[in-house]
Symmetry: C2
Subunit: 330 residues, 2 copies
């Protein structure tokens, strides 16, 4: 009989996590009960929000040492005791960092058959894509010609934010941490420009590329990046706060930008949590899948093979060394 492999949290890291903070455990196969479905993981999504779960302060709940790491997977149904699913079906669910999982039908969603390759259901056509779509459609009040800036721009959320904004008539400036990422954003993803904040002063870069101010700022980072952007807002700017990469690796909550930045610009600042927009998923897929099929959206995946390598891939993600959507392929 096949065995299951699981990754569990070993220690709560104090700053950037290390491979040793996780444990690879061989376990017996999970057993599906009445009405349940046994799933085999094909792809696992690694996301920065998991760092918050490890710290015990993410909106979705806390993880404790000894717990299996949580995460969304694309899985194949192995056996099903529920009429809605059959062996061979492709599903998305919270399978966690493991090879096999057991789920109830109500916790699964069928993967849209139009999505190809399937891994995109974890990236630009999954939660990160929906995050970007929700922000651009429901919170950013985009107007044609708006100058939009997005941080962590080459990530799954950031690259979709920029490309959706482009398709909605905006001019887009990215902020990223390497020349390679910046090159991809301007040459492949169609961004007007990209600031490599590691070699250029961010405030200067923002003034250079947004001489009339930032009309829309989408933030995945917090910290100094958010601070720099807030001082460059145009009158009536809109800011969407989505992620806090700069503080996920820390147990202290650093302060934010001075509120004068908001008053001065008469800005509107909104917080975005993708869970609030799960009911928009079909609308999102119907709109964005054709864009992907038509080649109007570029994407970048950072794929690691083997669940036992997930801790190293997560460490890379939390150090900003990934490039594109971080995925584990089983």
């Amino acid at each position: 009989m096949t065995e299951n492999i699981q990754i569990r949290l070993k220690n709560r890291p104090e700053s950037t996590p290390a491979v040793g903070d996780f444990e690879v455990v061989k376990d017996s196969m999970p057993v599906a009960g009445d009405g349940e479905i046994l799933c085999r993981s094909l792809y696992l999504s690694l996301d920065p929000y998991m760092r918050g779960q490890i710290s015990g302060r993410h909106i979705s709940g806390a993880l404790h040492p000894g717990d299996m790491m949580r995460g969304e997977t694309i899985s194949e149904v192995v056996t099903s005791d529920h009429p809605d699913y059959q062996a061979g079906d492709l599903v998305a669910h919270q399978g966690g960092w493991q090879c096999y999982s057991v789920a109830k039908a109500s916790d699964l969603t069928a993967v849209d058959r139009r999505i190809n390759p399937h891994s995109l259901a974890l990236g630009i056509l999954g939660m990160p894509g929906l995050t970007a779509y929700a922000g651009m459609t429901y919170l950013a009040e985009l107007k044609k010609g708006d100058r939009l800036v997005v941080s962590a721009a080459s990530g799954a959320v950031g690259s979709m934010v920029g490309q959706i904004a482009k398709l909605m008539g905006c001019e887009v400036i990215g902020i990223a941490g390497s020349d390679e990422k910046c090159r991809w954003l301007t040459e492949q993803a169609g961004f007007e420009a990209c600031i490599n904040y590691k070699i250029q002063d961010l405030a200067e870069g923002l003034i250079q590329y947004c001489p009339d101010g930032i009309d829309v700022y989408f933030d995945n980072v917090g910290g100094d990046t958010l601070e720099a952007a807030m001082w460059q807002l145009s009158l009536g700017a809109r800011v969407v706060l989505c992620g806090l990469m700069a503080q996920y690796n820390s147990d202290v909550m650093p302060p934010g930008p001075n509120p004068a930045t908001i008053i001065k610009a008469r800005a509107t600042v909104r917080g975005l949590v993708v869970y609030d927009f799960f009911d928009k998923k079909q609308e999102f897929l119907d709109k964005v899948i054709p864009w992907v099929d038509q080649g109007r959206i570029s994407y970048q995946e950072d794929v690691t093979e083997g669940i036992e390598n997930a801790p190293a891939a997560f460490v890379r993600l939390m150090s900003g060394k990934n490039f594109g959507k971080t995925i584990i392929k089983f």
Copy 2:
């Protein structure tokens, strides 16, 4: 011939201003030229934003040592060389900290004849009142039953924010700095409760009076007060940032609340500058004057007689020792 008395900025204060930072100057009467109007000041408004002008970083421009202090006055027309105004007319304008001023017709507005006493045209029926009205009407997205918290609650802006919100069906909690102010807010102005932040821990008070979170927060203060309130927002809360009393006396820009406060609550945070709402003044007066006449709005004025006492009154205002709208009566 009558002489003019002017208050000028002498030194730029580094923290809370002192009386010695200002100079009382006797000057000759200003002379009205062709088409101009000579005005005699009746009331002068003192406002916290003036501290920002002194620091050279207010939205309305900077003041330098030697400059006359700026400010809005209610004045009586002495002589007029313009057909729109006659001697005896009551006008509001930027007369400054002086007894007499010369103005162009385009810089004057007639004081609404329904306003009584006239000093209210500087307070709850003037710029502070319009500020509160604009925030409640256009930015706060008030819903009946919302629990609203306002800081600097006994000030001209704060007391109007709370009372307008009450009239729009909200439950209102004030934050103020003395028991006397709190008593007035609950006993006269109809607030549900008031937290004296000098004797009660603010975070605890907010949890006590807003056990389900703050639905709307109107901030006149910034700093620790804003920080405490931001952690207690309810889901979907709205925040209006209007004033930064906590940092006006400082040359450094302190940081703001961690952006997680906004994300966690899916809050909408907006900056309010009253200048953007000058076109709503008539609408505001038509709505609020009847409320005042019907006794549905209480107000408190902090009146000092004599322009030579304006520096001391301003110092008191900037130390939070005023109670109600600070006005100089000539």
